[in-house]
């Protein structure tokens, strides 16, 4: 199958409202396999909701979301859980399991979904920890980590099953510019070296431009622009231009 005929992620005319307030209004886009797609927008424009809709953590009021060929809304529970294993999700606040150590957090998906021996699991965990630069912190508890470290553990956990698709929610939120830059570098490496499909939502255009092939701009629930970073930088729409070039 060609990449063009089967995008890794597809959002098809999705609408979502909370308490009568429309958060997403007829949003559609596709992300081909291997592409890094950045979703930009101001706070509260439905960026995080979009990611949760993609893996079925939320259900759209209208429209459909697809992971590969699978219509997420049409999948039964068993198949939905199967499909989710092919998508890594890095949460805005990392969402680490706070009652277990960093090592156990990363090992958790492996214990659940693979038949690997303990030694292999340890090796895989150590490998992921070294990828995110936290090999010395395996025994720490999530509460003992800084915001940046938590994000990196969240990234390691999202990647430990080697999913072809990675969804990233606000990779720089609450981080200083240096730590945020480290996270962006990790994401850029994932794109460049491992050719994973990335969907990154953020309001930090400068950061996401470092690796995104295309950007989409959400405003008042609608995808008002979609294209390469250069195209959007020269957009006639003032808001798009301001968000992408960060001249707000």
């Amino acid at each position: 199958m060609s990449q063009a005929s089967h995008p890794a992620i597809r959002i098809d005319h999705v609408c979502k409202a909370f308490d009568g307030r429309a958060v997403l209004d007829d949003v559609s886009f596709e992300v081909p396999a291997g592409e890094a797609f950045g979703i930009l927008g101001r706070s509260g424009t439905g960026k995080s909701v979009t990611l949760k809709l993609i893996i079925g953590l939320l259900c759209p009021d209208q429209g459909h979301t697809f992971i590969g060929n699978d219509d997420v809304q049409q999948l039964d529970r068993e198949n939905l859980l199967r499909v989710r294993k092919t998508v890594g999700f890095m949460f805005q606040d990392a969402a680490l399991f706070d009652s277990i150590s960093v090592r156990e957090n990363i090992a958790f998906p492996l214990r659940r979904h693979t038949s690997k021996a303990e030694k292999e699991i340890d090796e895989a965990v150590q490998e992921k920890l070294s990828e995110v630069g936290l090999e010395e912190d395996a025994e720490k508890m999530p509460a003992d980590l800084s915001g940046g470290m938590r994000k990196r553990v969240g990234l390691a956990r999202a990647l430990v099953l080697d999913p072809p698709v990675l969804l990233v929610d606000e990779p720089n939120s609450g981080l200083d510019p240096v730590t945020a830059s480290e996270i962006y570098k990790l994401l850029a490496d994932l794109k460049k070296k491992q050719h994973r499909t990335l969907v990154v939502v953020t309001h930090d255009a400068a950061g996401v431009r470092r690796f995104a092939d295309r950007l989409g701009v959400l405003h008042q629930g609608r995808m008002i622009a979609c294209g390469s970073p250069d195209e959007l930088t020269h957009s006639d729409n003032e808001l798009v231009h301001a968000l992408v070039s960060q001249e707000v």
Partner: protein, 235 residues
């Protein structure tokens, strides 16, 4: 219904259920044992004052034991567990909900309902009857120690008097009914925790409501269960 249906569907989450049985069951034993002992002693003191007035002091062991096994033990165990475990489950799951840990579980392809809810409810169902036995026997022991201290009678005589009029229907149905208490405590507190929202406030609310609601429902259900027990075991 969803809980019951999922208990019998693979994967069975035996490891997590075992961990929850230890958390809910084993770690409640000191509380249950201490309370049982104290209740036994206090019951003995109160009963002695009344029974001696009617010249029926020799019946104190039997009265204490039957009261403990038939009603006090199961009910007090249920209420204590709803306080300790119900609040814990409600707060833990609500905390996981508001910090997106439940979403994280789902995103990793784990059925969070089965992993978090079914295991805890199953653990409550298993743990309650066992904890009730602990409460029953510690309560009886408390009564015995108190009586021995007052009357200087032997433990052997107390045990003989306590259990000679006991029949299995005083013990088995009333202990097994606490499995229903476990189902209620587990279901209510898991539901309130699993569906929590509104940050720290939601966590506090889920915790408080878990205790209040499960205690209330438990007491009300106890009426029905006592009637059913009396209907099925009229002796």
């Amino acid at each position: 219904m969803r809980v019951v249906r999922n208990i019998f569907r693979a994967p069975f989450e035996m490891e997590e259920t075992g961990r929850q049985i230890v958390e809910i069951g084993s770690r409640s034993v000191p509380l249950i044992a201490a309370c049982g002992l104290a209740i036994g002693v206090v019951m003995s003191l109160h009963t002695r004052a009344s029974m001696t007035r009617f010249g029926a002091a020799s019946m104190i062991p039997a009265v204490l034991t039957i009261a403990m096994f038939r009603e006090l033990g199961p009910l007090v165990t249920g209420l204590l567990v709803s306080g300790r475990v119900g609040a814990g489950i409600g707060a833990e799951l609500a905390g996981m909900r508001v910090t997106e840990q439940i979403d994280a579980l789902e995103s990793l392809g784990v059925d969070s309902f089965k992993y978090l809810v079914v295991t805890r409810v199953a653990a409550c169902v298993v743990a309650l009857p066992v904890l009730t036995m602990v409460m029953d026997f510690m309560g009886s022991a408390g009564g015995m120690f108190s009586e021995m201290a007052v009357t200087h009678s032997s433990a052997q005589l107390y045990i003989h008097r306590a259990f000679k009029s006991m029949v299995w229907s005083d013990y088995i149905p009333t202990t097994l009914k606490t499995a229903v208490f476990g189902l209620l405590i587990g279901t209510i507190s898991c539901f309130l925790g699993y569906t929590a929202s509104q940050g720290a406030k939601g966590v506090g609310r889920a915790s408080t409501r878990s205790v209040v609601l499960s205690s209330l429902v438990l007491i009300l259900f106890n009426i029905i269960l006592v009637k059913l027990t009396m209907f099925w075991f009229p002796s």
